[in-house]
């Protein structure tokens, strides 16, 4: 099995064009992260300062402030930020402040300092220090809701509020770090596109090449080929995807660490404001690992879908076209991940690309109502994708070991392909 897996990898992925594409995409990925770093990420609220010479003073002050404030949240740190905020708001509220450049400022200007402190320190610190009381209010509301929905017989909302009560209690953020860069890292998805392109290059020819090279009957007339080939091919797809996802995730992490200086890997995920209502109670580091695992699962399901398309055609061009079309449809459907409409939600749950946007799956409490019971949408998505994965494997096995056209036709009629 190991020998066969090695040869399968050698055959499909250790090809010149795949390796060259991987290297080119690696450089492109680093370039895009760097470009976003320099130009500023306008998609992230409050974090769109470019890393240019114009803002050098801002960034120097920003880094100095974080050196001073990062770590355990203390009264002294809070007091310092609040005092600075109060000092600056007093200066700008009567509009009597100087608009000239000044030496003893963070940014060179009074107004700049006000924006700087408010946006990057006062508001984030306020969010963190008030999180505990805010979430307590959420839990209190949930308790009231449980009582109300129990009386009205609304089991779904009752179980949803029970979930909130169980999972949101005891939440507290006692550290202050630059959480926005983690948010940027979680939302960074350009490398996903590169992984999909590499999947096309490596996986689309996986079965169709056996036909082009006339190897298919040879494989099917060989002992191990007949029994294990579909498993080995799918397993090699899994290894390829695990490699690609871990490789790009590691590169992303390293480049972000190098540029933005990721710190506070152990702070809770809800320390990031965008994740304040997340159902998760893990650290940001653990969430990044979870994101990698979910991406791997999503890519793997899509990879198996490509395998099926590859097994159905005699020429490689059609699997490329259909895979690309599937990708577009899948990404479009995954856009409905937070939809409240049933059909759109189902489409999103079926799409493996939903698992690629785990930040959207987990940044708020997304639910699915199944027979009046609350289920976490992320859990349902994972279970559905696992079921699809098993079904696709069965389909691949059937297609490969049964070369009778009649049986293929029957099979397609059954599954409605």
């Amino acid at each position: 099995m190991i020998r066969l897996t090695y040869f399968e990898i050698r055959k499909n992925y250790l090809r010149g064009y795949v390796v060259i594409a991987l290297l080119v995409f690696l450089l492109l990925n680093i370039f895009i992260i760097y470009k976003n770093y320099v130009s500023g990420d306008s998609n992230t609220l409050g974090y769109n300062l470019p890393h240019s010479a114009k803002y050098e003073k801002w960034w120097n002050s920003y880094d100095d402030m974080h050196d001073k404030l990062s770590g355990k949240l203390t009264m002294d740190k809070v007091r310092f930020v609040v005092d600075e905020y109060n000092r600056l708001i007093a200066m700008v509220s009567d509009r009597s402040y100087s608009t000239e450049e000044q030496e003893d400022t963070y940014t060179g200007y009074i107004w700049g300092d006000y924006v700087f402190i408010t946006k990057y320190f006062y508001r984030p610190m306020k969010y963190i220090s008030t999180y505990e009381s805010a979430i307590k209010q959420v839990i209190k509301n949930a308790e009231d809701n449980i009582e109300f929905y129990s009386q009205s017989g609304n089991n779904f909302d009752k179980t949803k509020n029970q979930f909130i009560k169980e999972h949101y209690s005891e939440r507290k953020v006692s550290v202050f770090y630059n959480s926005k860069v983690w948010d940027i890292l979680f939302k960074y998805s350009f490398s996903d596109l590169l992984i999909i392109l590499l999947m096309f290059l490596g996986i689309v020819p996986i079965f169709v090449n056996e036909k082009v090279s006339k190897m298919e009957p040879l494989i099917l007339s060989s002992r191990k080929g007949r029994i294990n080939m579909s498993f080995v091919k799918v397993f090699s797809v899994l290894l390829y995807i695990v490699f690609l996802v871990s490789f790009f995730s590691s590169i992303n992490f390293l480049v972000f660490k190098l540029l933005y200086g990721l710190s506070g890997i152990e702070m809770p995920i809800y320390a990031i404001e965008a994740f304040q209502y997340t159902p998760l109670n893990c650290s940001v580091g653990m969430f990044y690992v979870l994101q990698i695992l979910l991406k791997a699962l999503g890519f793997f399901v899509f990879g198996m879908w490509i395998c099926i398309i590859s097994a159905l055609f005699q020429r490689v061009i059609y699997p490329y076209l259909i895979s690309a079309l599937s990708m577009v449809v899948g990404i479009y459907a995954s856009g409905y991940v937070a939809s409240i409409e049933t059909i759109k939600t189902i489409l999103a749950l079926i799409s493996p690309f939903t698992l690629l946007s785990s930040n959207r799956l987990f940044n708020e409490l997304l639910a699915v109502n199944i027979r009046d019971i609350f289920y976490l949408r992320a859990h349902v998505a994972i279970i559905i994708q696992v079921c699809i994965m098993v079904f696709l494997y069965f389909l691949i096995y059937t297609l490969i070991s049964t070369k009778s056209l009649g049986i293929k036709k029957k099979l397609f009629m059954k599954v409605g392909v």
């Binding site: 090809r15 010149g16 006339k214 007339s221 060989s222 009778s404």
Partner: protein, 286 residues
């Protein structure tokens, strides 16, 4: 050893690819002759287990091969029609891969590869990329992979197509060497490929087995029906339209046509010694 095919039927929709094919094969070379689309590859795919027949069974030494499962596959060696294999693999890598899918134990791989490479005379080219091999070398590599598992049944689908005459002769010699204690089924539409080496010839036409026998016995069928007729260039079309013409050869006083016909064409034909090609022609023209 006997490979018996009983009433094999294979159809795609309403189209028969194989219609009630039955034959019993023992050790030796069998030539499977038929024009393109006659059902040779379908029959081969059924024999090697890559395709399921709609009806009929294949028996090896009296046992249904379906019951033998993968132990039957261990006894098969197969060379597909016009294989390109994996162009990015080196020859030795490819053979190692074939050893893996044939489940040859890892400790035997090296010796087995050396053995087959020597047999097909590819020892010097084993480090070459398959994409860099000539057509003949690639076919020899195909033979090498087919015999890696020391099969009892060797199935070769159009193995000489596209080869130059020297390679074709070399290929025939290799097959002759291999045929001892083996059933070798050689499918082709090129009659001379099997004429001299085959123990028996099976002729397929539109999915049906229309003739089976030794080359000599088959040649007897057309004995006295093969004629050489010398005609002028202007008459060639007339004869071609009227009679099955096998060969056209330029001679001193015109063109010599080789015709298979019950009666002497136009009374001007000269009786010729029949060949397997004449048999093939007479069947295909029916």
């Amino acid at each position: 050893m006997e490979l018996r095919l009983e009433n094999i039927k294979k159809f795609y929709g309403k189209q028969y690819a194989l219609d009630d094919f039955s034959a019993a094969l023992t050790e030796g070379i069998y030539g499977l002759l038929g024009p393109n689309g006659a059902g040779k590859t379908t029959l081969i795919n059924i024999i090697i287990g890559a395709l399921e027949a709609n009806e009929g069974k294949v028996f090896l030494d009296g046992i249904d091969v379906k019951q033998m499962c993968t132990s039957y596959l261990n006894r098969i060696g197969y060379l597909p029609q016009d294989p390109t294999f994996y162009k990015n693999f080196r020859s030795d890598e490819f053979l190692k891969y074939m050893c893996a899918i044939k489940d040859i134990p890892a400790k035997c791989v090296k010796s087995r590869i050396e053995e087959v490479l020597e047999l097909v005379n590819l020892t010097d080219s084993y480090k070459k990329k398959i994409g860099a091999l000539s057509g003949g070398m690639r076919q020899r590599l195909g033979i090498a992979q087919a015999i890696l598992n020391r099969p009892d049944i060797l199935v070769l689908d159009e193995p000489t197509a596209g080869l130059d005459p020297v390679e074709r002769i070399r290929f025939r010699n290799i097959i002759s060497k291999l045929s001892k204690d083996k059933i070798v089924l050689l499918a082709t539409h090129i009659v001379p490929d099997v004429e001299y080496i085959a123990k028996e010839i099976l002729i397929l036409r539109k999915g049906k087995l229309v003739k089976k026998g030794t080359p000599k016995a088959l040649e007897k069928v057309v004995e006295g029906k093969v004629w050489n007729v010398v005609v002028s260039e202007g008459d060639v079309e007339k004869y071609t339209y009227k009679y099955p013409v096998g060969n056209v050869k330029r001679v001193e006083n015109g063109l010599q046509l080789r015709i298979v016909s019950e009666c002497n064409p136009e009374g001007v034909g000269e009786a010729a010694i029949p060949s397997l090609e004449d048999v093939f022609l007479s069947i295909m023209e029916k």
